[in-house]
């Protein structure tokens, strides 16, 4: 080889018949690394060049069936194991329903694999440089000429022999093409990176301004733009501009039946307790007593306030006067309040109040327990032992 930098020899022909003949002869002469460039696909060229079938089909098959396997496993995992949902009463793994997705994924992965395989494996992308790039030869075969190129990498390559062979085949334009200097168009260079950044900035800014300022369109705003009540906001729904409405006069809320002796200082008669002191009632009473009564009256109604003098301490509820109150009277005091004690009507329901009364009675009995009460306790503990 006289020229080490030689890429190959090119020859141009005028008609498709000549190029087919040339391809056949070059192939017959034993050359392997040669290629033909024509403005359009020519029937019979593969055979004339002695090409084998493309291997891209294997890439397609392999990735297509990988898609089948992947999506079946994926659906099996999501639909049957990780997040099983009953859909249409079908089993968690119901193959007929998965078939369309499996089909689509097979086709999708097969298609993508074909394109990427063609570009990357067979067209040598991302390389953007080819020795024939920008040559007169390439310009001619993009127009109306039919070209053949025999590469210097061919084991039988001999420049003089090839030129005489191509001459014999009838080509009038034969050129030897040298490899260009390395890295003529490198992808990574400062100017290119800066260009990319500038383009990214301009595109983002334009997009932002266009979408948010110039042609701002709310996509589906029917829910946002409707007549509705917004808390703490003026409302256009009612003429008085209030969002909240007062209940109709005479409305009674559940658990808040009005008390007939409200406001009387010393009622002539009181109500009987409608509840029985069951375990549930006593537990409710304890809860409500500890919530509303105990801050002032103390946890055991001894009048030991937890409020440290912010409020005057009430007297103990274990006094004889308090013990002598009827159930109705205690209820009356809870509803009306007494002296500095305010009314607890709004905080408690009717049931709560009667339960509190029962709990106070239980406290009364606990503070004045008799020895005979212990017998009851013993009986219970024996019962428990048995």
């Amino acid at each position: 080889m006289d020229n080490k930098n030689l890429y190959g020899v090119t020859a141009l022909f005028d008609t498709p018949n000549e190029i087919i003949h040339a391809a056949k002869e070059v192939s017959k002469a034993g050359y392997k690394n040669f290629d033909v460039n024509t403005p359009y696909p020519i029937h019979g060229m593969d055979r004339s060049m002695g090409l084998k079938r493309s291997k891209v089909g294997f890439v397609t098959t392999f990735l297509g069936f990988s898609g089948t396997a992947f999506i079946l496993l994926f659906m099996f995992w999501t639909m049957s194991i990780d997040y099983p949902n009953v859909i249409g009463g079908k089993p968690f793994f119901s193959l007929p329903g998965f078939i369309p997705i499996t089909f689509e994924t097979t086709v999708l992965l097969g298609g993508i694999a074909t394109v990427i395989g063609l570009l990357a494996l067979f067209a040598n992308l991302p390389s953007n440089n080819h020795p024939l790039h920008d040559t007169d030869y390439m310009k001619a075969v993009s127009g109306d000429k039919y070209g053949i190129v025999i590469e210097a990498s061919d084991p039988n390559f001999n420049e003089r022999e090839i030129i005489s062979l191509l001459n014999k085949l009838g080509s009038k334009k034969i050129h030897s093409i040298n490899n260009p200097e390395k890295e003529v168009f490198p992808v990574i260079q400062t100017r290119f990176i800066v260009f990319l950044i500038v383009v990214a900035f301009i595109v983002s800014a334009t997009t932002y301004v266009t979408l948010n300022k110039i042609i701002y369109i709310e996509p589906f705003n029917w829910m946002m733009e409707q007549d509705k009540l917004i808390p703490q906001e003026k409302s256009a729904v009612f003429t008085d501009n209030f969002g909240m409405r007062l209940p109709v006069e005479g409305t009674v809320a559940r658990g808040h039946l009005p008390y007939p002796f409200k406001g009387q200082l010393n009622p002539a008669e009181t109500l009987p307790n409608p509840l029985l002191p069951t375990k549930g009632v006593l537990e409710l009473g304890k809860k409500k007593f500890l919530t509303y009564c105990s801050p002032c009256h103390g946890n055991y109604a001894d009048g030991d306030s937890r409020l440290r003098g912010q409020f005057p301490n009430p007297p103990t509820l274990h006094s004889q006067r308090a013990r002598d109150f009827s159930d109705g009277m205690i209820y009356h005091i809870i509803v009306n309040g007494q002296n500095v004690m305010p009314s607890y009507e709004s905080q408690t329901t009717v049931e709560d109040r009667w339960a509190i009364v029962h709990y106070i009675r239980a406290l009364h009995r606990a503070k004045n327990a008799k020895l005979t009460d212990l017998d009851e306790v013993k009986k219970e503990s024996q019962l428990n032992v048995e």
Binding site: R47, L51, G88, P96, G97, P100
Partner: protein
């Protein structure tokens, strides 16, 4: 155009083929008549399967002829005459339908007026599904097909001697009329002969389902005959690998098409799970039929798909011959699967009977016979067709 240009030399088919056809057909005919005498109900169902096989090969071939004209395909021109021979059973269909029409009462539930009067659904369908309209449809549809067959072959055969290009144009126009007519008539035929066996059931894709199987089987029959004849030098010496490849590709395409259509029909019914639709599939999933259904999926789709997927498989004559026979068997199985479960339900149910093997033998014999009669008289390739040269030159790359 001399014989050297087309590479075709006319030879008589060997007499053994005719003998084989006569033997098979006579076996089928005699045993079939005995079957009708011994077990009329069973025989009529078995005969219906065989009749539908004959019908699907005939009209499938007729469709392939029209398809070649209307698409202007060149690669299939050397084989068109063989499709014409296969389609020559179409005019005989009306005669072979007579035993079925005579045994209509055992085949078709809806032909009993007293049953229809008690059944609101069948009563609603009775304007279409009644005996007289059924017979009218049979005559009209088979008549239309026979007419198209007559004109297609008349023009094509005339071209052998006159070499008149206008005849091709005539046939192209004829194909344009035939294709929409074919779409309607094959749907009606599929509904009449197969779907109405279970008159309560309905599926709007059923016509397409029958069509996909029919064309598939016709292609398989064509491929088998092309390879058998070409191996023995009865066709043009210029047929090459790419012709086989195209036949194989089309077979593969129709394998996928049938799978797609069959699954579309199944999936919608499976998903909606409506009792008025799903019982048809449930009948094919009980009483031993479930093995049949799985076998159908394997034989009709999965195995042909794998066997015909690669390029070498589509160009290998041995593989193509084997798969053609396989496909014809699968298509017969498909028809059997469509027809026979209806017999099981009506109380005569059992899987196999000697009659199931008698009728297909007769039908294969009949196909060989009609093919032979035509092959004796005419050239095996359309020597006068203007597209023939390009068809013989056909290459893929």
């Amino acid at each position: 155009m001399s014989n050297n240009e087309t590479g075709y030399i006319r030879k008589e088919l060997p007499g053994s083929v005719v003998k084989l056809g006569i033997v098979l057909f006579s076996i089928g005919l005699i045993l079939g008549i005995i079957g009708f005498l011994i077990e009329p109900v069973r025989a009529s169902f078995s005969y219906l399967v065989a009749f539908m096989f004959l019908l699907s090969i005939g009209i499938g071939s007729l469709f392939l002829i029209a398809l070649e004209y209307i698409t202007g395909a060149e690669w299939s021109t050397p084989f068109r005459r063989l499709s014409e021979f296969l389609a020559s059973s179409v005019p005989w269909l009306i005669i072979f339908a007579i035993p079925l029409i005579l045994s209509m009462h055992s085949l078709f539930h809806w032909s009993h007026t007293e049953v229809v009067n008690e059944d609101a659904v069948l009563k609603g369908k009775s304007p279409y599904l009644n005996t007289s309209f059924f017979i009218i449809r049979v005559i009209v549809i088979f008549g239309i097909w026979s007419l198209f067959y007559y004109f297609f072959t008349k023009n094509s055969l005339k071209q052998d001697t006159t070499r008149d290009q206008k005849l091709t144009k005539k046939n192209i126009v004829l194909s344009g009329i035939f294709i929409p007519v074919f779409a309607i008539t094959i749907t009606m035929a599929a509904v009449d002969w197969l779907m109405s066996l279970e008159p309560h059931w309905f599926s709007t894709i059923f016509g397409v389902y029958f069509f996909s199987g029919s064309v598939w089987a016709s292609l398989a029959a064509l491929t088998l005959i092309v390879i058998l004849l070409n191996e023995r030098g009865y066709l043009s010496s210029r047929l090459n690998k790419d012709h086989y490849y195209s036949l194989g590709t089309l077979l593969f395409a129709f394998t996928c098409f049938w799978g797609y259509i069959a699954f579309s029909q199944y999936m919608l019914i499976w998903y909606a799970n409506l009792p008025e639709e799903n019982f048809w599939f449930l009948n094919r999933w009980t009483g031993g039929w479930e093995y049949f259904s799985i076998l159908l999926i394997l034989m009709h789709f999965i195995i042909p798909f794998g066997a015909l997927l690669s390029y070498p498989a589509k160009t290998n004559p041995k593989r193509l011959k084997f798969m053609s026979v396989w496909i014809l068997l699968s298509h017969y199985l498909d028809l059997y699967w469509l027809v026979m479960p209806n017999l099981s339900i009506s109380g005569h149910g059992y899987l196999f009977s000697w009659l199931d093997f008698v009728f297909p033998i007769g039908i294969v014999g009949l196909l060989i016979l009609v093919f032979n009669i035509k092959a004796k008289k005419y050239n095996l390739i359309p020597v006068g067709d203007p597209k023939l040269q390009r068809g013989l030159d056909f290459t893929l790359h």
